[in-house]
Each structure stands twice: as structure tokens, then as C-alpha cells.
């Protein structure tokens, strides 16, 4: 899954995965938050592969994550942030592993079954981070053309590596631009069309998470969400899913629950911070 934490999370695609009542998925994402909680409570995810999961400093440790992992209902496979990034990059490069100097000596090396390899030139021992080839990648980008050439503004996170690593690549985009637009700024393209399997035009496709330069994350929405969980735990998430995922027939209906006023405000905040 592309993006990072509550930045450029492909929430429109997550919503559809939940609506299709998928089961038994392994979720690989470098930093996880609400989308991971949705997947856990909906029973879609049986395993998460990540370096960190909660929402953010102000909201403390995720109670949902704790309940499901401590209760043994979801497996939590922890890799260091770089190691997970290198797992995607190794796959993106088409090699079975990448050498690294991280995770050595820590208990994470044991729990992940990390192996080492000897540099055949110097004899030095380095970590060998195994490639991760996801079955499906879901990504949200700023703009793409009809050939699937994708461009991202601001921090690129790990999306380009994830797209190359995965067998099937599904992308939602804030904007579909004419082919000529891509060609005018070819040095802004980070994912080539021949890597992409499906492309859908979904403005605000990661809301209430953020999209660099276009809308800031809706922190007030997170407050309400977390407060409800502090009261009712997983029940609160189930109610949230009923309201935001299962009830609205279309993504437009989903956005209506936030209201145009809120969307416009988050856009103003993003412009303020990036211009």
C-alpha cells in the first residue's frame, strides 16, 4: 500500500476492498494508521507487515492495534522502516535481496528471520534484506495520463518502488491529464504506464488523509474517531465503517459526509503550507 501513515493513503481503494468484504489479506505498509484499523476490525487483514502502527503522537498507541495483536487475532510482523523500504526496492530492482547495515544486532533480526551475507570482495558481513513482491499494489497519485504514467508532488514516499515490486498495480489519481501534459514534464513522471494495470480518477481519493499540496489531513476528524474508540473500542470502528464505507453507495456520497466546506478548508490549509 502506497503513501505513508496518513499521507496519500489510497483510501478510495481501501474502501472498495472493504465493501467487497475481502478476507485473509496481508497488509504491507511502512507506517500504518486508520486504514490498518479498518482492515483489522472488518476482518480483511490477518497479518500486517510494517515498522509502526498507531495514528500519531496526540492520539497515543492505537487501542485497536493493541486489542487485535495482543489478542492474537492479527499477526504483527515488524521490520525497520528502512528494511521494509529495501524489501520493496529489492523487488523493484528484480533482485532477491539487498545488502544493508541496518537491523543488525537488534531483536528484530531474530523475529524477522533476517539473514546475513558475506561481501565476496571484503569478507565483511552485512544484512541481507529479502525482496518483497506484493500480489497487488494500491496507490494514490496527484496526476496520471491515459497510459498510466504517474506523477507525484512533494514527498514521493515509497510508491515508485512498490509499483515496480508488485505483480498487479492499481492506481487512483487526483487528476487525469492529457498525454501532452505528461510529455511536457517528463522529468516529473515517477511511475511509467507499462507498470500500471488499472487507473481510476478519484479526486480527494485519500481524504481524510492528506495529499501533498492539495489537502491537509483532517485532524479534527481523527480526534472524533479516536475519542469514539476510547469509549467503545472496536464497536466504534464498526459504526464508523457502516457510516463511511458500507452505507455511501459512491465515493461522492462518502465525500458528502465530510461536506464541501470541510474539503475546501483542508485545501486552503494545504496551499498555505506549500506555496
Amino acid at each position: 500500500m502506497g503513501g505513508c501513515l496518513f499521507s496519500r493513503t489510497p483510501l478510495a481503494l481501501v474502501r472498495e476492498i472493504l465493501r467487497q468484504r475481502r478476507r485473509g489479506l496481508t497488509l504491507a505498509r511502512n507506517l500504518m494508521c486508520t486504514e490498518g484499523e479498518f482492515m483489522m476490525v472488518a476482518g480483511a487483514a490477518e497479518r500486517v507487515m510494517t515498522s509502526w502502527m498507531s495514528i500519531g503522537l496526540p492520539w497515543g498507541v492505537s487501542r485497536i492495534m493493541r486489542d487485535y495483536v495482543e489478542g492474537g487475532r492479527v499477526a504483527f510482523e515488524e521490520w525497520s522502516h528502512l528494511a521494509l523500504g529495501l524489501r520493496f526496492r529489492a523487488a523493484a530492482m528484480g533482485v532477491p535481496f539487498l545488502p544493508a547495515l541496518t537491523m543488525l544486532g537488534s531483536d528484530l533480526a531474530a523475529t524477522t528471520g533476517l539473514k546475513t551475507v558475506m561481501d565476496p570482495y571484503t569478507g565483511a558481513t552485512v544484512a541481507a534484506v529479502p525482496a518483497l513482491f506484493p500480489d497487488v499494489a494500491i496507490l494514490h497519485v496527484h496526476r496520471a495520463d491515459r497510459f498510466g504514467n504517474c506523477q507525484i508532488d512533494g514527498y514521493p514516499h515509497m510508491d515508485a518502488d512498490i509499483a515496480r515490486a508488485a505483480a498487479t498495480v492499481l492506481v487512483t489519481t487526483e487528476e487525469i491529464v492529457p498525454e501532452e501534459e505528461t510529455r511536457r514534464h517528463a522529468d516529473r513522471t515517477v511511475i511509467p504506464g507499462f507498470v500500471v494495470d488499472a487507473l481510476v480518477h478519484v479526486p480527494f481519493g485519500s481524504f481524510p488523509h492528506e495529499c501533498y499540496g492539495l489537502y491537509e489531513a483532517d485532524f479534527a476528524h481523527f480526534d472524533t474517531y479516536v475519542t469514539a474508540i476510547q469509549g467503545a473500542g472496536a464497536r466504534a470502528v464498526e459504526e464508523y465503517l457502516d457510516r463511511y464505507v458500507y452505507a455511501p453507495p459512491s465515493f461522492a456520497d462518502y465525500l458528502d459526509l465530510f461536506g464541501g466546506e470541510r474539503l475546501a478548508q483542508q485545501r486552503r490549509l494545504a496551499i498555505e503550507l506549500t506555496q
Binding site: C4, L5, E70, D107, L108, T116, H157, Y212
Partner: protein, 253 residues
């Protein structure tokens, strides 16, 4: 207005940073410390943030709550991929890494993964994020944390981020060719590590703090530096600059 614990941590941590250097800083007190150092004595300090952000200028009153959001990237100089951010550290370009942690032990190892058994944890914590990488790859690591007995344990339940491991050269033996924890900045004082055993030792106490007080709040046997110093209290200009960064006092308490 009296100095809050968070303010004390931020000011003492900021003094660890030199000009013309790079610092890997997480959000909250570490980022405030880095931003303070930039404004106080290190104008050319480059702040590097995990989310893929190099050289941002934090907007006062718009402090980020995560390492990958527009507030963290405000006026940044470069926005590489997250993987590349850590590879800059692996290549040796990151001078100092700031870290916190739920548990810290006598050898500076940090736990942010689990309390109890990893397989069936009593408490499942959020996880390493980039902490393991920062601890493994920065040239120098400084831990910044409140000083509490439950936090300072003889041995962490789980080594998420390697400090000196078991001391006595076990860190390089594990393949970690450089780096290590040099200082631990707490609400009670400034701590370092014995060059041989690599066990934590008291190097300086904050004004008004006694050695007994530190021992009472530490769950393991602390060594003491040959000459025990007292830290300079936060100066008015340091506090003024720091408080201007967080007028809503979201992180300064």
C-alpha cells in the same frame, strides 16, 4: 513562568547540536530541540525527517504531529523517497540522531516494540518506525526522554534499537560499523557511557537534582563520571526562542 520538563529536555538536547551538521529528528521535543538549535547557535544545521524531508523550516504554531506531512516538509530543501532518506544515514551523512523510547537499558538499548514476549505481548507498542535505522546508522545517537524508573531498566524486554548491545565491542561485532549512543538527556540530568563497559553513567545533573534522586528513578546500577558537573539552566533567550515555536504549547506542556 517556570521551566516545564519538556522545555528542559528541548533546551539541553539543542545544545548537543553543532552548526554545519545534520540531525535526524522525530516530531515533538526532538524536532523542537533541532529547530531551537537552528535559531540559537546552529543556523546551518540541516534537519532531516524520516518521512523523506531534508532541510525544512518549521512554521511556528504549525508543528507537525507526524514525520510525513506538509507541516514537517514546510520550506524543505529536498524531498527524497523515505528509503533514500535512511540510505543517506547508511552512507554516513547523518551526524546526530535523536531518539526517545518506552524502555532504555544500562547499555542504551531502546525498546519501542513490546512489553513482555514478542509473540504474545503484554503490551504491543507501535514499533520501531525508523528508530532502529537511526540507532544503527547515524554517526551519533542522543536519547531524549523523561527520567522514570519504569523506563530505565537493566535490560529492555526487546531490543528494537541497538545502543551498545551488551557493551564490550558487541555493537561492532554485530556488524554495526559506526555510531552508538553518546548521550542520554533526561529530566534529571545528562548521561553518557563508560568507554570500556559501555554502561550508562551520570555526567551532569540539572540544578537542584541530587544523585540519590537519580538513583531512585533508575532501575539499574548507574556509574558516575569522575567529575560530576551541573548543567547550565535554560537561558532566557533559549526559552524565548523555544516558546515562540510552540505558542499553543502542544508539545512543551
Amino acid at each position: 513562568m517556570s521551566v516545564t520538563p519538556a522545555e528542559l529536555l528541548a533546551v539541553i538536547a539543542a545544545r548537543e547540536l553543532r552548526d554545519d551538521s545534520t540531525v535526524f529528528a522525530g516530531v515533538g521535543v526532538p524536532l523542537l530541540a533541532a529547530a531551537l538549535a537552528q535559531q540559537h547557535h546552529a543556523p546551518r544545521l540541516t534537519i532531516v525527517i524520516e518521512g523523506g524531508i531534508i532541510g525544512p523550516r518549521i512554521k511556528p504554531g504549525r508543528l507537525p504531529i507526524s514525520t510525513n506531512e506538509m507541516r514537517a516538509a514546510h520550506r524543505a530543501q529536498m524531498l527524497p523517497t523515505i528509503t533514500d532518506i535512511f540510505l543517506f544515514a547508511q552512507r554516513g551523512f547523518l551526524d546526530v540522531g535523536f531518539m526517545g523510547g518506552a524502555q532504555i537499558d544500562a547499555h542504551g538499548n531502546v525498546n519501542t516494540s513490546v512489553l513482555g514476549e514478542y509473540a504474545r505481548p503484554k503490551v504491543r507498542l507501535p514499533g520501531t518506525g525508523g528508530a532502529n535505522d537511526i540507532a544503527s546508522l547515524c554517526r551519533e545517537v542522543v536519547i531524549v526522554t523523561p527520567h522514570e524508573r519504569r523506563r530505565f531498566v537493566e535490560r529492555v524486554d526487546f531490543v528494537t534499537s541497538p545502543g551498545w548491545l551488551d557493551g564490550d565491542g558487541s555493537r561492532p561485532r554485530a556488524g554495526l560499523l559506526f555510531g552508538g549512543v553518546t548521550h542520554v538527556v533526561t529530566t534529571l540530568g545528562l548521561f553518557g557511557f563508560d568507554p570500556d563497559s559501555r554502561r550508562m553513567r551520570v555526567e551532569a545533573l540539572h540544578p537542584g537534582v541530587s544523585l540519590d534522586q537519580v538513583r531512585e528513578n533508575t532501575g539499574f546500577e548507574l556509574l558516575t563520571a569522575a567529575s560530576l558537573a551541573t548543567t547550565e539552566p535554560p537561558a532566557p533567550d533559549e526559552l524565548e526562542l523555544l516558546r515562540a515555536l510552540d505558542p499553543e504549547r502542544r508539545f512543551l506542556g
